[in-house]
Every structure is written in structure tokens, then in C-alpha cells.
């Protein structure tokens, strides 16, 4: 076994977020939102922003590291890392990249962040406005296949076909997120609960996705500050360590025009085993999971690939009662997640995973904080990533 690992080498110093808005409704530009989230994370950590010496992001975040460094008056920028790939597949990879830099002495205090203001820039759920199209997209867009929901729907349909999965499994994921959001005052869907009837009567976006199977689009920003593990006890919250963080994709996952041989997957088949190896835990050790909902079907496949149930157990596993706090065996997306808290490209889910270690979630699974808390990022894209945080006791 290789001794090269992130396990226990890096700790969370602070987390921060802005207020979350419906898309296009943020009162501030995207870059200002990013600054606010980072400063809030500094406040949470009780550190000066000038301690930050690195930035790690993903999905081509527009708040560029050098400008951020200049804006915050940082003296000694050491790390500026961008994870390739779109969507939220890089949300945990950004943690891995930051942690890797810290563990190898390249940086001391790295902020992982993501900012989105879709009023200022484009929306995700609409196709291109142009008269011609070339490249890989030329083989899908002229057939009306151009939105993220459409890019992933046929993977989910194939999985449901192969394993006899019913629509109710997808519905349960959505109901759980909305249920948890009702206890989370910062969730955009706080005060806007979802029922089975409301889900069933909602319009189809593209089958098998109803409206409530699809993430929102939101404006806002979120940030996490990571430091060497030796500093874990320097902060006012319960210490929280990175146990593992990995990224990647299987053989030819990105083969063009939907030619991925492992089509009915969420891209975690090779990634999840590496996460468990690094973290030295098994699925049974995981106390709570935040799993990125771009679309509910991706959550379903991601949890299967992370070993929480087999494909043939999906209908029994994905029930509302099983997925909610305080009584479910498998509390999922306890902040409301991308569906009902806010769509921060998964960074909100990562922060919730950390809150569960600290014992500060609004749907806390164990009162004084859990020991092993997982975040799964961006299922069905490539590359994907996932990470596990742990308490002092988990080390």
C-alpha cells in the first residue's frame, strides 16, 4: 500500500457562503459574490484573508485566481488550480487539488470556491443560439439534444431499464432534498415543500425527469478554506479532516456522441473504490452522504457505484422514509442539496458535509457531529469526483 495519501493531512479551517438567490437575481456581480464568500470563510476560520496563499476551483470559474489575489491584497500567491471539466464534476476534485498542494508543501492555506451569477452570464438549461454547429455537438444539437437534462436522461433510462427501477425511486430523492430544506432557513426552497402529488403532476422536462428531478439554477458563491492538519485544533469549531478526495473517470467515459461503453453509470465505477482505499473506510462506516443532484437519476447511480446499495435494491433503498432525518437509515442531502438549498455547483453540498462533522447542520444526523461524512460531485459528467471528511476520532 502506498504511503502517498491525503488521509488526515489536511483540515478545514473555515467555510463561507453568500446569500443564495434565484438565477439572475443576485444584487452583486459574480466576482463580488466570490469575494464575499471567501471573506465569510475567513471570518468563520478567524483568520486574515492575507493568510490565503492558494485558490482552487472548477468548471472554468470566471473569478480568476490572480485577480482574486490582487483584490484581497495577498502577498505570496502559491497556488492557482483549475480542474478541467464542466458541470459540478470537479467540486470534490477542487478539494483534492487543494489538499494535495497543502500535503506536499506547495501551499499553506488554500481556498476552494465557486461563484455563479447567471444573470450576468449565460444560463445552463438552454441550448446555443447560432445558425450552425460543429464538432461533437453537431451530432446531437440538430436533433434537439442540447440541455444538460437531455445529455443525461438516456443514461438514467438505460439504468432504469436494466434494473427495473421505478419512477418512485427518483421521486424519493427529490422529496428528501425538499424535506430537509424546510429546516434550513438559507435554502431557496425553505417554506416551499414538495409532496408526492406535486411531483407527480409536475411537467416533464424530458423523460424520465420531471421538473423536480432537475436542479435549480442559482446565483451565489461558496468557499472552503483548507490548511495543514497540524492546525486542525486552532479553530473554534469541531476539527474536520480530509480523509480522502479523488477524481477521474473510467475507460473512454468521454467517448463522443454517447459512445461511453459504461453508459448506464454515473462515472464513479473506478473512482469510488479509490476513495474508499484512500479514506480507509467502507460504505458501512459512512454516517451521512451529500450527493450532487444535477438530476435525481445521477444521485441514484452514484450511490450504487459508491456501494450503498446494489442496482437491484434501488426500489427498496430509495424511499422517502429511508432518506430523511431523523429516522431514516440513510439520511441524504441534509441541507436540501442542489435541488432545494441552492445550486452552487456542489460546493454547498461540500459545506454541508463539513457541517455534519462539526455538528452544525440544520438536519444534524448525530447531535454532536458525525465521524465520517461523504460528498459526491457531479454524477454522469467526466471527470467526476468525491471526497470524505472525518472527525478527530476517524483518524
Amino acid at each position: 500500500m502506498s504511503s502517498r495519501t491525503l488521509r488526515g493531512q489536511v483540515a478545514v479551517a473555515g467555510v463561507g457562503q453568500t446569500e443564495y438567490y434565484k438565477w439572475g437575481q443576485a444584487p452583486d456581480p459574480e466576482f463580488k459574490l466570490a469575494i464575499q464568500a471567501i471573506l465569510n470563510a475567513c471570518d468563520d476560520a478567524g483568520i486574515s484573508p492575507t493568510e490565503i496563499d492558494g485558490f482552487s476551483s472548477y468548471s472554468n470559474d470566471r473569478s480568476e485566481a490572480s485577480r482574486m489575489s490582487a483584490a484581497l491584497g495577498i502577498d505570496d500567491l502559491r497556488l492557482a488550480v483549475m480542474q478541467w471539466g464542466g458541470g459540478g464534476g470537479g467540486a470534490a476534485a477542487a478539494v483534492a487539488n487543494a489538499a494535495g498542494a497543502i500535503a506536499t508543501g506547495q501551499a499553506e492555506c488554500v481556498v476552494v470556491f465557486r461563484a455563479l451569477a447567471q444573470g450576468q452570464f449565460g444560463r445552463f438549461g438552454q441550448g446555443p443560439r447560432r445558425t450552425t454547429i460543429s464538432g461533437s455537438a453537431a451530432h446531437t444539437v440538430p436533433y434537439g439534444l442540447m440541455s444538460p437534462a437531455q445529455m443525461f436522461a438516456m443514461r438514467v433510462t438505460r439504468f432504469m431499464h436494466e434494473h427495473g427501477v421505478r419512477q418512485e425511486a427518483l421521486r424519493a430523492i427529490s422529496l428528501a432534498s425538499y424535506h430537509h430544506a424546510q429546516n434550513n432557513p438559507v435554502a431557496t426552497m425553505h417554506g416551499n415543500p414538495l409532496t408526492e402529488e406535486k411531483y407527480d403532476s409536475s411537467r416533464w422536462i424530458t423523460e424520465p425527469f420531471h421538473l423536480y428531478d432537475c436542479c435549480q439554477e442559482n446565483d451565489g458563491a461558496a468557499a472552503i478554506i483548507l490548511v495543514p492538519a497540524e492546525r486542525a485544533a486552532d479553530f473554534s469549531h469541531r476539527p474536520c479532516y480530509v480523509l480522502g478526495a479523488v477524481a477521474g473517470s473510467h475507460h473512454r467515459a468521454a467517448a463522443g456522441v454517447h459512445n461511453d461503453a459504461h453508459y448506464a453509470t454515473s462515472t464513479f465505477e473506478t473512482v469510488a473504490p479509490r476513495l474508499y482505499d484512500m479514506a480507509k473506510v467502507t460504505p458501512g462506516d459512512v454516517d451521512v452522504v451529500q450527493s450532487y443532484e444535477n438530476f435525481t437519476g445521477g444521485v441514484m447511480m452514484a450511490l450504487v457505484e459508491h456501494g450503498f446499495c446494489t442496482p437491484d435494491q434501488v426500489n427498496d433503498f430509495f424511499t422517502f422514509d429511508n432518506l430523511v432525518t431523523p429516522n431514516g437509515d440513510f439520511p441524504l442531502n441534509t441541507s436540501g442539496g442542489n435541488l432545494a438549498e441552492a445550486y452552487m455547483h456542489g460546493l454547498g453540498l461540500t459545506i454541508e458535509a463539513i457541517r455534519q462533522i462539526r455538528g452544525t447542520s440544520t438536519n444534524q444526523v448525530r447531535r454532536d457531529g458525525v465521524d465520517v461524512s461523504m460528498m459526491i460531485a457531479g454524477p454522469m459528467v467526466t471527470p467526476v469526483s468525491s471526497c470524505i471528511f472525518g472527525s478527530e476520532a476517524s483518524l
Binding site: Q126, P128, H139, G144, M146, M154, R158, W204, E207, G256
Partner: protein, 146 residues
């Protein structure tokens, strides 16, 4: 008569020419896909190198436009202004067993409310858009063997 309303982006060959023979083939009612001349296997989407044997000796060869439905989706939300009044339509992912199971995306012609069956045989239909500038051809699919 095209399956979808006019106004969606028209496909043109990649600027580097990678998939140009495919689009030229469709214009002539032929399905041309990439085949490695070294290991003789088909591959799709097009790439500059064979992913199996890393040979650069790839050509576009004609193959039969028949296959089976590998997966499908019935789309309801208009993702483009040209589709605003269109109503639901069907996208299929078609697998070609006679060409190393490569897959193509297209629309399934016929009633948009028809039942969609994974594994059903489908046959290609060349849909020419000669009134458009630039002209282009799509490969659509209809249920049934040729």
C-alpha cells in the same frame, strides 16, 4: 418534411475536417463511419487515432443504417426558441451491432407519444434540409427492419 421545426443550428463539418466525410456521406444517402484500417474495428465519435490500437490509419467506410434502440428520451421542455410551439419529440440512441456497437443520436420518426422500447430494431432515414443555408442532412430513425 423535417421531424423537428426548422431553426435549430445546422451541423457543419468540424473546422479541422475530422468528421467531414460523415456529413458528406449523409448528403448522399450513405452512412459513413470511422474504421481503423489496422485493426479493422469501427469507432465513433470520430477521433484522429484508433482508441484500440493507436493507429492513425482511419478511414470512413459505408455501413448499413440499421440498428437497435439502446436508450431513448421523450423531450417536453423547449430547449430552443425554434421548439417553443413544437410539443414533445423523441430522441433515440441507436446502437449498430454490425459495426462494433457504435452508437448514433437521432430522432425517432412517427407519433411522439409512441411507446419507446429499448432493443427495438430501427432503420435510418436520410432527412435532407435543402432549403437551409447551409444545406445539411440528418440521419433519423424509424421503427422496423429494412
Amino acid at each position: 418534411m423535417s421531424y423537428l421545426s426548422p431553426g435549430l443550428p445546422a451541423p457543419v463539418a468540424a473546422r479541422d475536417g475530422l468528421d467531414a466525410p460523415f456529413w458528406d456521406g449523409l448528403a448522399n444517402d450513405k452512412l459513413l463511419l470511422q474504421r481503423c484500417q489496422s485493426c479493422e474495428r469501427w469507432q465513433w465519435g470520430a477521433e484522429w487515432v484508433c482508441h484500440r490500437c493507436r493507429s492513425f490509419d482511419l478511414t470512413f467506410e459505408e455501413t448499413e443504417a440499421t440498428g437497435i434502440i439502446y436508450s431513448h428520451q421523450r423531450v417536453w421542455h423547449p430547449v430552443h426558441p425554434a421548439l417553443k410551439e413544437h410539443g414533445p419529440f423523441v430522441i433515440v440512441l441507436v446502437e449498430l451491432p454490425h459495426a462494433d456497437n457504435v452508437r448514433l443520436v437521432g430522432n425517432l420518426i412517427g407519433d411522439p407519444h409512441q411507446s419507446l422500447d429499448i432493443g427495438a430494431p430501427v432503420t435510418g432515414v436520410f432527412e435532407h434540409h435543402l432549403d437551409n443555408d447551409p444545406v445539411f442532412t440528418l440521419l433519423q430513425w424509424a421503427v422496423g427492419s429494412s
